[in-house]
């Protein structure tokens, strides 16, 4: 980002990203991203497929550790600390919940799906686990549907239920930041609406990054929105003005109004 002034991130930014660049081998997936995510905000990321949105989410939790061909440069700070400097990357990942586009119910019972992260974190007492499981399932608007069959396999729930199960599971980590990657792609409209309500609730407690291919979903939920296009970080701004036409780049306007994408 030569010659561009970057405003210093607010001190309390949950996530602060500077000049992030992601590539796979010689192929650039995302170039020169600078943005921050503040407490209690829903941060929307919109853009067509293959714009680097998912790679962006992976870089935040250092999932590049598991993929030798993925290269990340620039700086990502989470809770004020460069993610590459975290001594215990697993503690970092525990603070960041992730929900994938296609729901992945682990082949464990509904209960164990949600209790897994607390157990790995050292919570042993049944009563504590019961409490966490119920609370997380309630927050994910799934409790009423599954409370009588907590012992059945999570991977056998319906798609919409599995997606809410993965949200409950992500919440069981007690995260500071929740990453939602096109969560409504495999979910029916009713469930989508329910999850959107869940997101509005959660916002009171944590920050959320919501990657979406549905422009209107960003408009409904996001406080601020960033636009990625073909590996390029086009712009970031408050959602309402952006959708009312106050854009820095004409392409953003064209995308929002459905001229392409």
């Amino acid at each position: 980002m030569v010659g561009t002034e970057v405003a210093p991130a607010t001190k309390e930014a949950v996530l602060d990203i500077r000049n992030l660049r992601i590539s796979y081998g010689s192929k650039v997936a995302l170039n020169d991203v600078t943005l921050d995510v503040r407490p209690n905000e829903v941060f929307g990321i919109i853009g067509p497929a293959n714009s680097g949105k998912t790679s962006f989410l992976k870089a935040i939790t250092r999932m590049d550790d598991f993929n030798a061909s993925m290269n990340v440069s620039g700086q990502i700070s989470f809770l004020g600390k460069d993610v590459t400097k975290w001594r215990n990357v697993f503690a970092l990942r525990r603070r960041v919940g992730v929900v994938f586009p296609l729901p992945v119910g682990l082949p464990l019972s509904v209960y164990d799906n949600v209790a897994l992260a607390p157990r790995l974190g050292g919570t042993k007492k049944k009563a504590d686990l019961d409490e966490i499981v119920e609370r997380c399932l309630r927050r994910a608007a799934l409790w009423d549907e599954v409370k009588d069959r907590l012992d059945s396999l999570g991977s056998l729930l319906s798609g919409g239920q599995q997606q809410r199960l993965t949200i409950a599971r992500a919440l069981s980590q007690d995260p500071d930041l929740l990453l939602l990657d096109e969560f409504s792609i495999a979910v029916d409209p009713v469930t989508t609406m329910r999850i959107e309500d869940v997101i509005r609730e959660l916002k009171n407690e944590i920050s959320i990054i919501m990657v979406t291919n549905l422009v209107q979903q960003a408009r409904r939920l996001a406080d601020r929105t960033a636009f990625f296009l073909n590996s390029e970080f086009v712009e970031v701004g408050d959602t309402s003005p952006m959708f009312e036409g106050e854009v820095q780049d004409q392409r953003t306007h064209d995308y929002i109004t459905g001229r392409f994408g």
Binding site: T61, M63, R93, R94, L106, P107, L116, A170
Partner: protein
């Protein structure tokens, strides 16, 4: 509209002929198994009895039972498994969960192929040179079992790696994103879903190990012992070697006896194999995803 032409009919006839030839070859290949099994059952069946299983050999191994050999085979297999299963599973976990696609991994794979391909008698020589002589275990259960363990290690590695790789990658990624370490992920999600596949491989290994003869001949199995082994540093009799001994080295053995030993050995091996095949088929129908 579609009437068969002269040419179609000819083709059908030719195809039928080829089909028959290939089928005949297949039948000729598997027929011996059935004949051999039938012969062993007919000639060895009458020998099998409780006394045969639980008595010591008598009169210079020309009469009596096979108890010390049967027990010895069981002990050899168990000690071999104790060594090879942890090592083999660790190797498979490394190859499936950690290894990148690089020269080291290719070398490991090549080594596994060769380990499986080295002649059993060369494994025996290694067992003598390494365990009996160099590590001074002497000819003992320990030396024999370790030799067997190394020889059958590839079976465990390959079966375990396959069942680990069958666990969908999405499960791992979901677990990692919960903040689980690699090991926690393996323990919580990967191994539980692969354990039955691993078991299949282990049973297969038992079947291989129980039947091997050459690797134990000079490392720990004895022709005849009047007593049972007391520790892993003792020698032991073994069924496979016992069959070799009474069918080639001992004069005056009644004809039925070696058939009985061969039948017993084959029953052990085939029951293990059937278990392994059955388990595999059962699991295929019972995937959780």
């Amino acid at each position: 509209m579609f009437t068969a032409t002269q040419r179609d009919l000819k083709n059908l006839r030719v195809e039928g002929r080829y089909r028959f030839v290939f089928m005949a070859m297949t039948v000729l290949l598997v027929l011996p198994v059935l004949i051999i099994l039938a012969l062993l059952v007919v000639r060895g069946g009458p020998v099998l009895s409780a006394e045969f299983l639980f008595e010591f050999p008598k009169n210079g191994m020309t009469a009596g039972g096979v108890f010390p050999a049967l027990l010895g085979t069981i002990i050899l297999v168990i000690v071999a498994l104790l060594a090879s299963v942890p090592l083999g599973v660790a190797a498979a976990v490394y190859l499936s969960e950690y290894a990148a696609d690089n020269w080291l991994t290719r070398t490991i794979n090549l080594a596994i192929i060769n380990l499986a391909g080295v002649p059993s008698i060369v494994h025996a020589l290694f067992g003598v040179g390494a365990f009996v002589v160099f590590f001074k275990f002497g000819t003992s259960i320990l030396a024999a079992s370790l030799t067997l363990a190394i020889m059958t290690l590839p079976v465990v590695i390959v079966a375990t790696r396959e069942s680990l790789q069958a666990v969908p990658q999405a499960f791992r990624e979901a677990c990692w994103s919960l903040g689980a370490t690699r090991w926690q992920t393996i323990r919580a999600v990967v191994l539980p879903n692969a354990v039955s596949g691993i078991l299949t491989g282990v049973i297969l290994e038992v079947s291989r190990t129980a039947g091997e003869t050459a690797p134990i001949m000079f490392t720990g199995a004895a022709f005849f012992l009047p007593f049972l082994p007391e520790s892993v540093f003792d020698q032991t009799m073994a069924l496979s070697l016992h069959l070799f001994v009474i069918s080639t080295q001992v004069p005056g053995v009644p004809e039925g006896l070696p058939y009985g030993v061969a039948l017993l050995l084959i029953i052990i091996v085939l029951v293990m194999n059937a278990l392994s095949i059955g388990l595999r088929t059962y699991l295929r129908g019972k995937k959780k995803w």
